[in-house]
Structures are given as structure tokens and as C-alpha cells.
């Protein structure tokens, strides 16, 4: 049996051939017959009242099929976009959920808010027509500065949300924390800004909607990380098209990083309008539209204090955060700065008392939601920044202070004071390995050598923990999630022995077509080229919750394992019949059923054939066919952990920060394909470095205009901004899923900002500027920090 892969093999990707030959199929590549093209007129203002819209010239423009405004969607009773996670505030009151119409009715609330939809025979004609729409705006004062959004007198984003406060949420035991601070030997305080980021998947969002007048069925091709969730939301909440009459397909998708989880106005409107005009409609965002309308990420302002005893053991941690929601609530916006942030504030440490207060604010900016890591990078940046600051203040090496406070490997399962129960981990060997790989001991000499050249060298550590593999449905349900977070899998064998693996996870770069095939190949002994992974189509895959939160392998992969177990169980019955043996005596090894202790055997393919051509078959015991379905709901989150160490060199003349070495050592549990895992870590680190040194969504405080609205002004990490990375692994298998895996998609982005910034601060400490720098540490900011008087 050639071409069988094992879990742990470095298998080249099955999907690569089509991507490398230009034969991938992304949404914009679709050529639908008689297709029309949509263009959305965007608000040029951050906050304005729409006093009137005249679409008559646009409607008469060449090639125009239809023009729709907010009045049309309101008249058609198109529902507003929803937020699917209810967060209850300190007093048990649900978050404020202001209306979010797909097309603005009478008020626009951020630059890029949708004002009208034009449908024409070509994209250029649609755009030409949109230019002819006359909108009478009354420009209103806007609030984009998060630090002032909750202040008295700030412009109000929604009339039904007083003071712009979406919720005031807390977690942890405040009294215990206050008591710890009362007894503290030392308290370290920090103020940090977690800068707003724009995800920038390289494929812009796109949608192509079809309506079949004969059947009344709709099909939406869209750039989604979770097509079934898109269908569910559009059906149940927004458009009212029954789920069985709406098919959502997410074909090849060019990256997501969270931004393609959400259900946006554009695909909603394309589906609705396809029914209205009876023709297919396609829309692909310009990058400029992506900047204005893809949900942004991060955007916190935090003050925190940590209490220590005389030995440097953390005794209490208090955190006060304001989180930006933007102008409207995106699909999972409320959960990100609460359950994905507050619950991670214990980090890898035994801090016994933690209290976090998060106030979420509306502003006249693009909605903010999950972006790679979602809440956990914000938590890690805060924890790891304050720990390194504390180490400097009490004169203890930052690695040593971390080790002193790490949860011991014997303490698992470990209940933190912020709700989570960590299942496994062993943190000291990880940091030791990272210190070895980064030659931590030799840093002093390198710093001195740099100083002799007039450069400032610094080294920074970030030891992260994340909760991923989202998630036990009962747990997230109790916390306000509107959906379950299991995953489904179906193993559909064909009579000739090959198999389709249908998964509710979605791959938009992660390589599931390879790694999921590896699991099946390993488990069932089927050659890789006999396995096809199918994802991203609600009409093919039973159901699925999609890909986000590093969940695909831990949850989706586990569902595949469960389905494979069912295949083996059924195959045993068939094999027992074919070999005239007792089912209890059948074992399954390397793709073959054997009668224990004999050389009698039936390969799986033979059992499969028998199941479809059941001439000689135990028809009284089992049904024909070999097609098994499984749903897997995890019993806990998974808890990847690791340590990154970054070394930087700063040119004090220009403020340029160069990353000279970057080490990441991770515990992802078992690894299915090391090549793919390394790629995930590299990409995550690059995004984390981007946040630390380059990227920032900047708004003009006076006008609310997005100043970083293109690659001319939003700094994307490029090849020459980054070094090659040094990676290492330590493994403690996840104890509660069948693969022992933890997830690797977000780790790099979660840990890297603190590693880089701790290095930058360490370098700047040589000139006393370590507390004067925020992310992104751009050359200008570093230069200003060094030269501040």
C-alpha cells in the first residue's frame, strides 16, 4: 500500500499544485452566466445624518440594473446584522445591541458605512453609476478616540446606547485582589495600548450570489471561514431564506485571520438582491474597501497593576480595560475582549487573585472583532509586558521571575482564578529550550558589542498560554454564545475504495486537505491519493462551525477520528462475516482487518466493496454502505503554551528597530504535520511582529477619517522587515481529545508582540526610555522615545 502517511510525517500539501499553477478557484474567479456586478456606495463621513438620497441619475446610468438604498431593504424587511454572543454586564444585564442595518437608514456611523447598492452589467458601470448618486449629508461630530469615547460629552454613536457604553463587564474576585495588594511587597503598574489592526488577508472579501427562479433556491459563493454559520445567520436572523433553500459555498479562500468569520452587509445584500433582480450578482472588494469595512482587530487601552510578595511571587493582578467595538457590533465582537481576554489573564502563572474590568465602547470607526488570536494576544501582551516590567523593577532576570511563578507540571488540571481549567503543560523546559536556542546567556556580550557600534540591543521574553480548540458547547453556551462549537465529519467511502472526508472546518491556507487526509491515512491505512478532503459547501458537508480559534484540528480532526472509529467498527462486522470469524476476534491494523492469531485478513477496501455490493454480507446485522458521520464536542478548551525570545537592535539615530534573532518554542501537543505547523508559526510571528513594529489603523481624531486606508499608509510586514525564525517544540499531549493535539494557528501572533516589545523596552532601558514606547514601535516613535525630554 503505497503513499500511506502517518501522523507526524512532513507531507507535502495536496492543495499546492492548483495554487502553484494558477488553477485555484477563489470567489472572484467564478464566471457566472448573465452575471451582474454590485458596487457599494460608502460613506465618506465618520458620522452624518442622511437628509436625502437621489438615485435617479444612477438608475439611468449605462448598464444599471437596480439601485437600492436603506429604504428598500427596510421596506423589504431585511433584518439587521447580528452579534451572536450575549455578554452580560456586572449586574447581569445583556450588552447594548444597537441596530446594524445592512444599508444605513438615516445615519452613517463610520467611514465606509454602506449607503447604497448599485447593480449593473459590469463592475465599471456599477462604479460609474454610484458616482452619480447624490447624497445630502448633515455632517455630525464624531468620536474615534477610544480614551474619550466613554467621557461625558463625547458624541453619541447610537441614541439608544447612553454614553457609548456597550457593557461594563468584570471577572474575578475583586476583594481577594484588593487584599493581595494591601499586603504586597512590591506593586508594578503599567499602561498599555493594544493597537488597532486591519487583518489584510490577501484575498479581498467577495461574494457571488445566484437565485434559481425555478426552485427558489439561493446559492452564495463567499469568502468565508464558516459557510454553515453564514447560512444559519442569513437564514435565521437576517434574510429569512430557509436554510434548506440557501446553499453557501466558500471555495478557495485567500486567508482569513478572523476577518472572514463574520457575516457582513455585502454578501447579505448580494443574496437578497439576487432574488430581487433575478440575476446573479458578484461583488469583490477593492483593497480600499477592505480597509474600511473588514472587521478590524484589537484596540484596547488598559491600566494594570500586579502585586508581588518579597520573593517576587505574584499575589494579585488587577486590570482595567476599555475595548473598542467600533460603530456596530460585528458577529462575535462582544466575546473577544471578555471571554477570550479576561479568562487568559492568569498566563502561565500561579497568581491566586485576579480581577479584570472591561468596558466596551462604541466609536465612529469600523467594527472591531476577532483577528488572529482574538483577545488572547491582548491578554498575553499585557501579562508579559507587566511581568517583564516587574522583573526590571525588582531587579530579577525576567526569565527567572517567570520560572518562579510558573504553574508546576504536577499541578494540572489547574484551576485559574479567571474561570479556565488548564488541562496540561510543562513550562520550564520550554523557556529553557528557548533560552538555549537564543543563546540567552550570551546576550550581555552581544549587547556590549552593539553598544560599541552605537546601537542599542535588547532581548525580550514572552511566555504565552492560550485557550483554543473552541469549544465545549455547554461552556460557551453558559457564557452567552449563540451557537454550539462542536465540529462534524463524514467519511464517505466509495465502492472502489477511495474516500471523501467531509469536514465542517474550512481551510483558507491552513492545509486541511493534507493534514486531515493524513489523519485518515494513518488511522485507516488509505493511501493519500485515495483521500479527498471536502470542505466549504453547505450542500456537501453535513454541518460545521468553521475554522477560527485554532479549532480545526483539535475539534474537526477529532470528529474525523470519531468517524473513522465508526468505519472500523462497521468494517469489523463485515470482515468477521467474510472471514467467518467472531467479531470480537477481529483486529484492524495498517488498513487491514485480521483475525487475531491467524493470517486471515480482509483489507479495508474489500470490506468497503462488500458494503456496497452486499452479495455476501451480514445484512441482518449491518446496513449496506460505508459512510459514517460524527460530531465531536470537546470536553475542554485546549491550552497550547510556549515561550518566544526576540532580540532586537535599535539604531538610535533613526529609531529603526531590527529584529536580529527570533526564537519560538511551543507546546502544541501532538503534531500531525510539522511542515504545516512551522508555516503557521512563521505566519503568526510575522503578524505579531507587524503589530509590534509596523501596523496601526490610524484615525484622524477631528474628522474620523481612516488615515491608514491603503498599503501606502498601513505598513504590512514585507520580506526584508523580518528575519528567518528559529523554532523548537516541547510536547505535552492534550489529555482530552483523541489526537492529543492543541492547535497552532494563533500562537505566533499571540506571543510575538510582547516578545518584540519587551526586547525594544530592554534596548531602550539603556537610555532610560523603556516606559515611553507603545505599539507599533515605528522608527518615529522609537526616535521620539529616545529623544523625549
Amino acid at each position: 500500500m503505497s503513499n500511506v502517511s502517518k501522523i507526524g510525517d512532513r507531507v507535502h500539501r495536496k492543495e499546492d499544485r492548483r495554487f502553484l499553477t494558477g488553477t485555484g478557484r477563489y470567489v472572484d474567479d467564478l464566471q457566472l452566466s448573465r452575471c451582474t456586478h454590485a458596487h457599494f456606495l460608502r460613506s465618506p463621513h465618520a458620522h452624518a445624518r442622511i437628509k436625502g438620497i437621489d438615485t435617479s441619475k444612477a438608475a439611468a446610468s449605462a448598464g444599471v440594473v437596480a439601485v437600492f438604498t436603506g429604504k428598500d431593504t427596510a421596506d423589504a424587511k431585511v433584518g439587521g446584522l447580528i452579534c451572536g454572543w450575549v455578554v452580560k454586564d456586572k449586574h447581569g444585564v445583556p450588552h447594548k445591541a444597537p441596530g446594524h442595518p445592512a444599508i444605513a437608514l438615516d445615519t452613517v456611523r463610520h467611514v465606509g458605512d454602506t449607503v447604497a447598492m448599485v447593480i449593473a452589467d459590469t463592475a465599471a458601470n456599477a462604479r460609474d453609476a454610484a458616482d452619480k448618486i447624490e447624497v445630502d449629508y448633515e455632517v455630525l461630530p464624531a468620536i474615534v478616540d477610544l480614551t474619550k469615547a466613554l467621557s461625558a460629552g463625547a458624541p453619541q454613536v447610537h441614541s439608544d446606547v447612553p454614553g457609548n457604553l456597550c457593557y461594563d463587564w468584570e471577572l474575578g474576585d475583586k476583594a481577594a485582589v484588593d487584599a493581595a495588594f494591601a499586603k504586597a511587597a512590591h506593586v508594578t503598574k503599567i499602561d498599555v495600548v493594544n493597537n488597532r489592526l486591519i487583518p489584510n488577508a490577501m484575498e479581498p472579501r467577495a461574494a457571488a450570489a445566484e437565485y434559481d427562479r425555478g426552485t427558489g433556491n439561493y446559492t452564495l459563493h463567499t469568502t468565508s471561514q464558516n459557510p454553515h454559520v453564514t447560512r444559519l445567520v442569513l437564514s435565521a436572523f437576517v434574510l429569512g431564506i430557509p436554510e434548506h433553500k440557501l446553499r453557501v459555498i466558500a471555495p478557495d479562500v485567500g486567508g482569513g485571520f478572523g476577518s472572514k468569520i463574520f457575516i457582513y452587509a455585502e454578501e447579505t445584500l448580494c443574496v437578497w438582491a439576487a432574488g430581487k433582480v433575478g440575476r446573479s450578482i458578484k461583488w469583490t472588494a477593492d483593497r480600499s474597501e477592505s480597509f474600511m469595512t473588514d472587521a478590524h482587530g484589537r484596540d484596547h487601552v488598559t491600566h494594570a497593576e500586579i502585586a508581588m510578595d518579597k520573593d517576587g511571587k505574584f499575589t494579585g493582578f488587577r486590570i482595567d480595560t476599555i475595548a473598542n467595538m467600533g460603530a456596530y457590533l460585528s458577529t462575535f465582537a462582544t466575546a473577544v475582549p471578555t471571554y477570550l481576554y479576561g479568562t487568559l489573564l492568569a498566563g502561565q502563572y500561579t497568581t491566586p487573585a485576579i480581577h479584570v474590568n472591561v468596558r466596551a465602547a462604541f466609536t465612529h470607526t469600523t467594527p472591531v472583532d476577532a483577528y488572529r488570536g482574538a483577545g488572547r494576544p491582548e491578554a498575553t501582551y499585557l501579562v508579559e509586558s507587566i511581568v517583564s516590567k516587574a522583573a526590571r523593577e525588582i531587579g530579577v532576570d525576567p526569565a527567572e521571575l517567570r520560572k518562579r511563578n510558573f504553574i508546576a507540571p504536577t499541578a494540572f488540571p489547574y484551576q485559574t482564578p479567571v474561570a479556565l481549567t488548564y488541562d496540561s503543560g510543562n513550562y520550564v523546559p520550554i523557556i529553557d529550550e528557548a533560552m538555549k536556542l537564543s543563546d540567552y546567556a550570551g546576550f550581555g556580550a552581544r549587547q556590549s558589542a552593539a553598544k560599541a557600534k552605537g546601537k542599542l540591543r535588547g532581548i525580550g521574553i514572552s511566555s504565552y498560554i492560550e485557550a483554543c480548540g473552541l469549544a465545549p458547547s455547554a461552556v460557551v453556551g453558559s457564557l452567552g454564545a449563540g451557537v454550539g462549537q462542536w465540529e462534524s465529519a463524514q467519511l464517505r467511502f466509495n465502492p472502489t475504495g477511495n474516500v471523501q472526508v467531509l469536514t465542517g472546518s474550512h481551510s483558507h491556507g491552513q492545509g486541511h486537505e493534507t493534514t486531515f487526509a493524513q489523519i485518515v491515512s494513518d488511522k485507516l491505512g488509505v493511501p493519500m491519493d485515495q483521500i479527498e478532503v471536502v470542505h466549504g459547501d453547505t450542500s456537501q458537508v453535513p454541518f460545521g462551525m468553521g475554522t477560527y480559534g485554532s479549532r480545526s484540528l483539535a475539534v474537526g480532526g477529532s470528529a474525523i477520528m470519531k468517524a473513522a472509529d465508526k468505519i472500523i467498527a462497521k468494517g469489523k462486522k463485515i470482515a468477521a462475516h467474510l472471514m467467518e470469524a467472531a467479531e470480537a476476534d477481529i483486529v484492524f491494523e495498517n488498513g487491514t482487518f485480521k483475525v487475531s492469531g491467524t493470517d486471515k485478513n480482509v483489507p479495508l477496501a474489500q470490506a468497503v466493496f462488500a458494503a456496497y455490493v452486499p452479495h455476501n454480507y451480514p445484512i441482518d446485522k449491518v446496513e449496506p454502505g460505508m459512510d459514517e458521520n460524527a460530531f465531536y464536542d470537546p470536553s475542554n478548551f485546549t491550552y497550547p503554551s510556549g515561550t518566544q525570545i526576540c532580540e532586537v537592535e535599535i539604531d538610535p539615530d533613526t529609531g529603526v528597530v531590527e529584529i536580529v534573532h527570533f526564537v519560538a518554542v511551543d507546546d502544541f501537543g501532538n503534531i500531525v504535520n510539522p511542515m504545516v505547523v512551522e508555516g503557521q508559526v512563521h505566519g503568526g510571528i510575522a503578524q505579531g511582529v507587524g503589530q509590534a513594529l509596523m501596523e496601526a489603523a490610524a484615525y484622524d481624531n477631528a474628522t474620523g477619517q481612516l488615515l491608514s486606508g491603503s498599503y501606502m499608509d498601513y505598513t504590512m510586514p514585507r520580506a526584508d522587515d523580518l528575519p528567518s525564525f528559529t523554532l523548537g517544540y516541547k510536547t505535552t499531549p492534550c489529555p482530552h481529545n483523541p489526537l492529543g493535539v492543541k492547535g497552532c494557528g494563533e500562537a505566533g501572533a499571540i506571543a510575538a508582540p510582547a516578545a518584540v516589545m519587551n526586547a525594544v523596552r530592554d534596548a531602550l532601558a539603556q537610555v532610560g526610555a523603556q516606559d515611553r514606547i507603545e505599539m507599533p514601535a515605528t522608527p518615529q516613535r522609537v526616535w521620539a522615545a529616545i529623544n523625549a525630554r
Binding site: T654, A696, A698, Y711, T715, T778, Q780, A784
Partner: protein, 264 residues
């Protein structure tokens, strides 16, 4: 992009006539700035006159006095020209650092100087080396050519045909790129010319400018130290999310220092 009428004349004279005839005609050389501008609908020309059909605008001539580059010569060809590298190595290096590889493969010197983007590289070389811009109508000294932000001495229908650079005994260009766009946030070209040292700055202000105080310092002593303490006033310099005027002013000194050191 709005649609337009497209012309591809074979001579400079025909090109000039086509532009003059159009109600709002635009010349296109490499299109590296014009096409993005049109895509953003920031311009709405009635006619676009493509100079790619005018073959005598391409080429590099080097003699004892200097380098003459045809307006339609691509940045990549200037960067890889052994003749330019021998005559004015700093000019070849500057061309090799414009934009990215794909921009250098299409963008031209004529387009760059005629557009006069405040963050373009070539204007610094032209002013520092004391170059002459030749058009279909006249010759214009570089310093008289660059007027202000996106503004030049070119009249309607006037077309840059070549740029002539006198050699310099020493020259170097140092650029601090905008971290996002990679355009010059500050670019300083220093040259020891027949008429003395010249220092030209791009990216920092609304248009290329000379720093006389640095030139005087370099006239006394050609060394990095000579310019290290010459500060440029921040007033009037560009300020944006990437660099304040103060930071740009500081970078002018740093880049000047490095350019002088690189020039040897």
C-alpha cells in the same frame, strides 16, 4: 477608472499635438503613477497619450561630461547600465532603489521628473547634480524645473525628452523609506560638483530642496562630521502619521551624514 480616448503616437511632435488637441489630455510614459491615480478616480482625463510608441526617447548616452538619459528609459535600465555605474554610480544606485522591481521595470525617468511627486527619488539627483531637463521646446535647469508639489515648469503640451546629468567627483544618495509605501520619507543626494558641493533633499518637503548650510559646511570640509551638526528647520516640512516634521528634519541630517560617508 473613468474611460478615456487612448492615443499612441510615433513622434514627440504628434504626442504634443494630441495632448494639445484633447480637452484634458494626459501624457503617459511608464504609467506607474498615472494608472494608480486613474484607478482611484483621482483624475478624469479625456485622453491619454502613451509615449511608448516614440522610440527615440529611449536610451542612455555617456560621454566625458556626463550622462544623458532618454525620457522613456526605464529605471531598471538605468540601474543596470554599466556606463551609468562608471560615470555616476550614485545615479545607478538611486535608480535601483526606486519603488520595487516591477516599478523599475516599467517606470521611466521622464515620467518621474514630469510628475514631480514630493517623495520621488530622481528629483534629488537632478537638483544635486545640477542636471538639465530637455523638452521638445527647450532646456530647463533642474532647479528651475521643479516648482512645488506635483508642479513643474512644463507647459501644456511640453514633453520631457531627456535628462542630462553632469558627472560629479563624488556623489551618493541615502533614502529613508516610508515604512508602508517605501517611497522616500527623506532622501538626501549629496554631490561634489564642478560648482561645489550640493545637497538636495526629497521626501521631506513639498518638493525637492537644497540645503545651503550643508553645502557650505561641505565646501569647507567634505566629511560626514561637517554636516552632522547642521540642523534643518522643521518648519514647512511634511508631517504625517509616519513622520512628524521634526523627525523628518532630523532624518535629513542623518541621511546627509550617511550619504557623505558613502560618497567617500
Amino acid at each position: 477608472m473613468y474611460d478615456f480616448a487612448y492615443h499612441k503616437p510615433k513622434s514627440v511632435a504628434d504626442a504634443a499635438a494630441a495632448v494639445k488637441k484633447a480637452s484634458d489630455g494626459k501624457l503617459m510614459s511608464g504609467g506607474m503613477t498615472l494608472i494608480p491615480t486613474l484607478k482611484q478616480r483621482l483624475a478624469h482625463p479625456s485622453d491619454v497619450v502613451d509615449l511608448a510608441g516614440v522610440s527615440d526617447l529611449v536610451g542612455i548616452k555617456v560621454d566625458a561630461t556626463g550622462v544623458t538619459i532618454g525620457a522613456m528609459t526605464k529605471h531598471a535600465d538605468v540601474a543596470s547600465s554599466a556606463d551609468v555605474a562608471r560615470a555616476i554610480p550614485a545615479l545607478a544606485a538611486l535608480a535601483g532603489g526606486i519603488g520595487d522591481r516591477q516599478v523599475r521595470n516599467r517606470g521611466t525617468i521622464g515620467g518621474s521628473v514630469a510628475n514631480n511627486d514630493p517623495a520621488a527619488d530622481y528629483p534629488a539627483a537632478l537638483v544635486a547634480l545640477g542636471a538639465t531637463v530637455t523638452t521638445n521646446e527647450r532646456k530647463i535647469a533642474a532647479e528651475d524645473f521643479f516648482k512645488g508639489m506635483f508642479e513643474t515648469a512644463l507647459k501644456d503640451g511640453e514633453i520631457v525628452t531627456s535628462v542630462s546629468f553632469p558627472t560629479a567627483t563624488k556623489a551618493a544618495y541615502m533614502k529613508f523609506p516610508n515604512p508602508a509605501s517605501r517611497y522616500a520619507m527623506v532622501g538626501v543626494f549629496v554631490a561634489q560638483t564642478a560648482s561645489g558641493p550640493r545637497v538636495a533633499v526629497t521626501g521631506a518637503g513639498p518638493a525637492v530642496f537644497r540645503v545651503k548650510a550643508m553645502e557650505e559646511a561641505l565646501a569647507k570640509s567634505w566629511s560626514a562630521d561637517a554636516v552632522a551638526n547642521v540642523k534643518v528647520p522643521a518648519e514647512g516640512l511634511n508631517s504625517d502619521i509616519h513622520a512628524s516634521a521634526e523627525y523628518r528634519a532630523h532624518l535629513v541630517t542623518v541621511m546627509a551624514k550617511r550619504a557623505v560617508a558613502a560618497a567617500g
